[in-house]
Amino acid sequence: MSGRVIVITSGKGGVGKTTASANIGTALAKAGNKVVMIDTDIGLRNLDLLLGLENRIVYTIVDVVEERCKLKQALVKDKKNPNLCLLAAAQTRDKSAVTEEQLKDICEKLKKDYDFILVDCPAGIEQGFQNAVAGATEAIVVTTPEMSAVRDADRIIGLLEAKEEIESYRLLLNRVRPNLIKSKDMMSVEDVVEILSADLIGIIPEDTGIITSTNKGEPIVNDEKSLAGRAYTNVAKRIMGEEVEFMNLEEETSVVAKVKKFFKGLMVKEK
């Protein structure tokens, strides 16, 4: 088996890299793939929280690198899905604890046993980013329809293009708010795609469910009713090579919009 190593990166912090990693990983595992997620955000680890695995971590990636344990010992299995496991970052060290070569080496070893290796990249373009990208051949650039996130994504795309090992990268547009797009207060999907001139892998709507699912430590893809969950499932399908149409978020949310309109109409009449 030779797995695919995909790095999930963004440049800017807080756009949803870790949430995207947790959900894409879970969705890929649910589809029957063997998936391992690597958290490379050493010192600021969070992927374990989103997966609800924070209490099960014994060894971290730094322990593997410094040979205090074997690679397999450090992999934490998911509660629900035995196909999914996590290689956690160390919380008490910094980004210099691991080198590019070491990460490359870990990815090479994991490739043999897993279909997908998802690398959750730290924010920024410094060594942490360089480390995370080192072992990958594909990238998912997470951004939101905000100026600062798009600008940083452009910078990241520039850096990815300069890396020979990265064969392809695609854009994941997160936290999209159809209502704001409709009122022209937010850049549309088309705007962002045009400005960055990159291929899309998914559009994720803003969803309060993300917050509650993080509270519970359970990725939102497990909630089949949620819009964001379905969007992430579609992203996983696209990664596996399926052609899935992009959700029309305006239509999906229009039911809510219609109800609101109806009530607004009533209120106006009463006045």
């Binding site: 798009v150 600008r151 520039g158 022209k184 850049m187």
Partner: protein, 197 residues
Amino acid sequence: MKDNIFTELYNKLLGFFRQAEEEESTKDVACNRLRVVLMQDRTNLTPQLLEKMRGELVELLSKYLEMDKDALELNLEQEGEQMALMLSIPVIRAKDETEIEKALAEEEAKKMAEKNAEEDEAAEETETEEELEEEDLNAEEDAAEADADVESENETLNKDNPKKFPNKEICGDCRECEFSDDIECEKKIPSKKTAKK
């Protein structure tokens, strides 16, 4: 009473649509600002450099066309893999042949004057071998400058409007000539360079 409500509603609706037409939406503002900032990020062209490029383009183009210089728009746009330079200038009128020829002739004259100046200088400083070498270097530099001038300088503007493109600095350096005496002034400048070396 009812009429009033309806007219009010109609006006409100009208007002709403007018507003939508007139005001640039915030997302358009964001898109435009992003395009500019990404252009700078991608090309390493600072606003100062862009302004310089703009100025040079205006000079070059106004040899051939009379245009609204303040309304010139210069943008680098990404079209797929290709980056394109988009230039938009409102043309007031096309210059006629004689005007263009005049402008070109004046430019040619200036170029010649510059060359002569360089040659004069060269003649002045052919005494020792060391100086010869230096001079070669300078000649190359100046030739490159002259080439750039062919593209960028606008003679008519320079002459008509000496204060706009003054040789103030040059004069400040040589302290010998007035604004009007361009040629003599430029003579001094390269020689000063060599003197420094």
